[in-house]
């Protein structure tokens, strides 16, 4: 290929070559009076690396604004000279952020103010900003205990026990390591508040004034630091390095009680009362604000949710056990799950959970372990009643009426495809029950995809790299007519055969070849009305990232959306067909994916299974993105009926040799998911913002 041939040769490009590239990239803002000639001559004098860097970023910037890209090109050589390549990249990224927020004029001004940028960069050499640490600290907190927490930026640090809020930047220290340490210790203390019961008392018991809460925060930090000292000594050392000024003398008498192994938040409250009236909270960098009311609200909601989920998981385990026994187990009044939680001496963090159900020990499912761990974190114990099975092992149902007849006013299209639908009550298919039409998505905003690519530039880079690794495996093909080595096996066989009078065989070589990923993937996107807003944005962004990654891999893929209203108007929307290339048109259709009507999932899966099954491929994979339960307008698809039909459609896909994977965004009612996705693997994403990366990650894991 032309570009790669050029790439390997390290001589600088000449002005004509550069000008040609500029015209390709930013031609839209060039004219007879404004040419790229001077620019190209300037760049032609630079080393090849600077040229490549400039052209690379001009190309990226041009996707959102050719004008900004042109402006960048004019100042790039100077900036690279002054800032180095990494610094120049930062400077350009900052201008691009300004462009996203405030438009071209401001962005161009920001690019031109190179001197200002350099001054600011020097002043803030040691500063650390939230986006730089967010991913690392999120992993860090998830590692500390099994229950991951979200991280967000705010003016002051605090937590509601689900999310940890951290300052936007920390500039207190001169060196980056010190500011990073401040971030880490702050985050760990907020995590410890949620983990070790800072918000486990009645709302009335917390101080009502800001100074009171600030003092309580300081006392809690002393209590939690003592825990760190016992359990996470390294973290404790970091915390002590930051504790400036030292603990004041009026704290001394109360500190001892807080350091005891059994100390809880109640001890901090007691200590608070014993402090002198003029006590002031110290200015420790890691102290945040306590928000007991908000934290208690979030905690109570989570406890209720976990309890319900655990109870129905117990019921499900029991039902499965009974089914495996052929119904031999007597249905006890209340099934009990016994949990043995063993703690390592001096350490509350390692739980060994084992289950005993009706006298039998069994391994906990990951779902059950996670729930128990979450409940233990909130309550410190597992109350008996949380282990009582709720219901008969079925998921909760609602509105499960008979499918009603047609809603007047909704007409079937003239030429629809007819599909059966599964009626779980009668245990048979309703013949030709649904009418389905295939349509194209109307093209949407052409700026959507480039904007998403910019927003996720770091992720795209990362994804491309990790997908390239998937692609790059070689395989040795034996018995080939030509190749790099002799295939000894084949040669010996040929020799034996020749001795017995046969002709010399021809396939005697071993050849290395890029392993062919013979794979066809169908992405199925929920376009029901309930995805409106954020979920829809994230679905579309997820597709953009995926498409980038899949283009690297060269896997064959198609993208379809679905929605509809009643069984007479089910719709499947083409975004990208298998035989279609990924380009501007497809990008605009991705942008055009919008929330429409309802989620009649079964029929859509049946139709798309047909399309996928027709693909010649060794592995066929169907990945569904949806926001929860199947649902349709007033003809009884809601609830059990729709869940069972969807399950049936996935079973049919499995029988057709298709692997299904379902990604669901739904944190409320997970209880029906194991049932519905019985035939498929699935994952639940609580944080919609995670979707774009998660989808690519799931895909990588599924196919590596």
């Amino acid at each position: 290929m032309n570009s790669s041939a050029r790439f390997s040769d390290n001589a600088p490009l000449d002005a004509a070559e550069i000008e040609e590239r500029f015209e390709e990239l930013v031609g839209a803002v060039l004219s007879s009076r404004r040419t790229a000639t001077a620019l190209s001559q300037e760049l032609a004098r630079q080393p090849r690396a600077v040229q490549e860097f400039t052209l690379h970023w001009v190309a990226i910037t041009a996707r959102s604004s050719p004008e900004l890209a042109y402006q960048f090109a004019t100042v790039a050589p100077g900036a690279i000279g002054a800032l180095g390549v990494a610094g120049a990249e930062k400077w350009l990224l900052e201008a691009m952020d300004v462009f996203d927020r405030e438009g071209l004029y401001r962005a161009a001004a920001s690019l031109k103010d190179l001197a200002g940028f350099i001054r600011q960069a020097r002043a803030q050499a040691g500063a650390v900003a939230f986006p730089e640490v967010a991913r690392v600290l999120e992993h860090f907190l998830a590692g500390l205990s099994g229950r991951p927490m979200k991280l967000e930026a705010d003016d002051v640090p605090w937590t509601d026990t689900d999310t940890v809020y951290l300052p936007r930047r920390i500039t207190r220290y001169g060196r980056r390591e010190e500011n990073f340490r401040a971030y880490k210790v702050t985050a760990a203390l907020l995590w410890a508040q949620a983990r070790h019961g800072t918000f486990s008392l009645d709302a009335k018991r917390y101080p009502g004034t800001a100074p009171g809460l600030a003092l309580l925060a300081a006392l809690e930090s002393i209590r939690l630091a003592a825990r760190f000292e016992r359990e996470l000594p390294g973290l404790h050392r970091d915390l002590e390095l930051l504790r400036q000024p030292a603990i004041e003398s009026h704290f001394e008498p109360v500190v001892k009680a807080l350091r005891s192994e059994s100390a809880g938040v109640a001890d901090s409250l007691l200590a608070l009362q014993r402090l002198p009236a003029d006590a002031r909270a110290p200015d420790w960098v890691f102290l945040g604000r306590l928000e007991p009311q908000r934290a208690l609200g979030v905690r109570a909601e989570r406890i209720a949710r976990d309890r319900q989920a655990l109870q129905s998981a117990v019921a499900r385990l029991r039902a499965e056990m009974r089914a495996a026994d052929g119904g031999a187990t007597a249905p006890a009044e209340a099934a009990r799950l016994r949990v043995a939680v063993r703690e390592m001496p001096g350490d509350a963090q390692q739980l060994d959970i084992s289950l005993e159900l009706d006298g039998r020990t069994m391994a906990p499912t990951p779902e059950v372990s996670a729930l128990i761990e979450s409940i233990l974190q909130d309550l410190g114990e597992l109350p008996e009643e949380y282990l009582v099975a709720a219901g008969d092992g079925a998921y909760r149902t609602e509105n499960a009426g008979e499918p009603a007849e047609l809603v007047p006013g909704i007409e079937a299209p003239a030429e629809g495809l007819l599909y059966d639908e599964w009626d779980f009550r009668r245990r048979h298919y309703r013949k030709d029950w649904c009418v389905l039409a295939e349509r194209d998505v109307q093209p949407g905003d052409s700026r959507f995809v480039p904007a998403a690519l910019i927003r996720y530039r770091a992720e795209v880079w990362h994804l491309r790299r990790s997908f390239e690794a998937l692609r790059g495996e070689d395989r040795r093909l034996r018995g080939e007519p030509w190749g790099d080595e002799v295939d000894l096996d084949a040669a010996v066989r040929a020799l034996t055969e020749m001795r017995s009078g046969a002709e010399l065989a021809e396939r005697l070589f071993v050849r290395r070849e890029r392993k062919l990923r013979d794979m066809a993937v169908m992405f199925v996107v929920d376009m029901s009305g309930s995805t409106k807003g954020w979920i829809n944005d994230c679905e579309r962004e997820a597709l953009v990232l995926l498409a980038e990654a899949l283009e690297v891999l060269g896997d064959r893929y198609a993208i379809y959306g679905f929605s509809g209203i009643t069984r007479k108007r089910c719709e499947v929307y083409r975004v990208k067909r298998f035989d279609e290339r990924y380009g501007g048109e497809v990008q605009q259709r991705i942008a055009g994916i919008q929330p429409l009507d309802y989620t009649r999932m079964g029929v859509a899966l049946r139709h798309l299974t047909g399309i996928l099954a027709a693909q010649e491929a060794r592995t066929r994979l169907m990945i569904t993105l949806s926001d929860g339960k199947p649902d349709d307008f007033s003809d009884g698809y809601r609830g059990e009926y729709g869940i069972e039909d969807t399950r049936q459609a996935l079973l049919e896909a499995k029988r057709a040799g298709i692997h299904s994977f379902c990604i669901t965004i739904d944190r409320e009612a997970r209880d029906y998911l194991p049932r519905m996705y019985g035939a498929a693997h699935y994952t639940v994403i609580e944080d919609v913002a995670r979707l774009p990366l998660k989808v690519a990650e799931v895909y990588r894991r599924l196919t590596s």
């Binding site: 998830a142 590692g143 996470l232 060994d352 034996t496």
Partner: protein, 278 residues
């Protein structure tokens, strides 16, 4: 001591040179896996060891081979492995071609325990030779020689499989899976695992406890950015480095963090977890 062990004398197996496990391997039993394996062996049933990498499956097989006094033939499967590699092939000697048994044929003839490690990594065509060995037939077809080898009663086929990979390319086919008695492996309870690490490396109890704690932290990250958490094997590696005098944090970075991920942010996070624990 075991009657099977006593009955079996090493002299009766001249071809098994190097395949007998001479000294008792250290294996810490976790649940009823030893009894289950023995029962399967007595009943001539093949077994499937299911569990994450580095949790003791290989060590367990070595221990069982010693306990039952059978030779052990281990094959690590990979996607270049062909049926011929397993069964056998002709080799050229000075004047003529001579047949050479592959590990599978050898194991069957010896009545050994044949352990196919990470079976899903093998090429699909190898299942053709595995299936007849894994069901009632207990036979190996050596096509190239037109030979049919019937496995003696002492022979046992064992395979391992890591269900942690979610890849659709690495699923164990139902038709294969259903021929085997499955034994579930997972990482041991914390105290037991700390004991294993201490015993394997000679590290003190406090440090092995910290290593296990670190392992649990990385296992928390499984599915949240890591494909796998740190295995017992990695802990043993780190512990051995520490015993050799490597500074604990450097040892954990080298033996654990870098073994788990290349991603810079995840690497940084694991590094912070290491520094928090030590």
């Amino acid at each position: 001591m075991d009657e099977a062990r006593v009955r079996m004398t090493r002299q009766s197996l001249p071809d098994a040179a190097g395949l007998m496990i001479e000294r008792e391997p250290y294996y810490q039993p976790l649940r009823g896996e030893v009894a289950l394996f023995e029962a399967a062996w007595r009943n001539q049933m093949p077994v499937l060891l299911k569990g994450p990498t580095g949790c003791g499956k290989t060590r367990f097989i070595e221990y069982m081979a010693w306990r039952l006094a059978r030779p052990l033939v281990t094959v690590s499967c990979h996607d270049d492995l062909t049926a011929a590699d397993l069964v056998g092939r002709y080799l050229i000697t000075a004047r003529e071609t001579a047949w050479s048994d592959g590990p599978m044929a050898r194991a069957v003839r010896l009545g050994a325990i044949l352990y196919l490690d990470e079976i899903v990594e093998a090429r699909k065509d190898t299942t053709v030779v595995i299936h007849p060995l894994a069901d009632d037939r207990r036979t190996l077809f050596v096509d190239k020689r037109g030979e049919v080898l019937k496995a003696p009663p002492e022979f046992m086929l064992a395979i391992s499989y890591n269900p942690g990979y979610q890849s659709v390319l690495k699923e164990l086919k139902q038709s294969t899976r259903q021929r085997f008695v499955a034994i579930d492996f997972d990482f041991p309870p914390a105290e037991t695992e700390a004991g294993i690490v201490a015993r394997e490396s000679g590290i003190d109890a406090a440090a092995s406890g910290r290593l296990v704690k670190l392992a649990h932290m990385t296992r928390n990250l499984k599915g949240n950015g890591l494909d796998e958490g740190a295995s017992t094997r990695l802990l043993v590696h780190a512990a051995k480095l520490i015993v050799q005098g490597v500074e604990p944090r450097a040892a954990c970075d080298a033996a654990i963090a870098l073994a788990l991920t290349d991603e810079p942010e995840m690497l940084a996070a694991v590094h912070e977890l290491v520094s928090a624990v030590f």
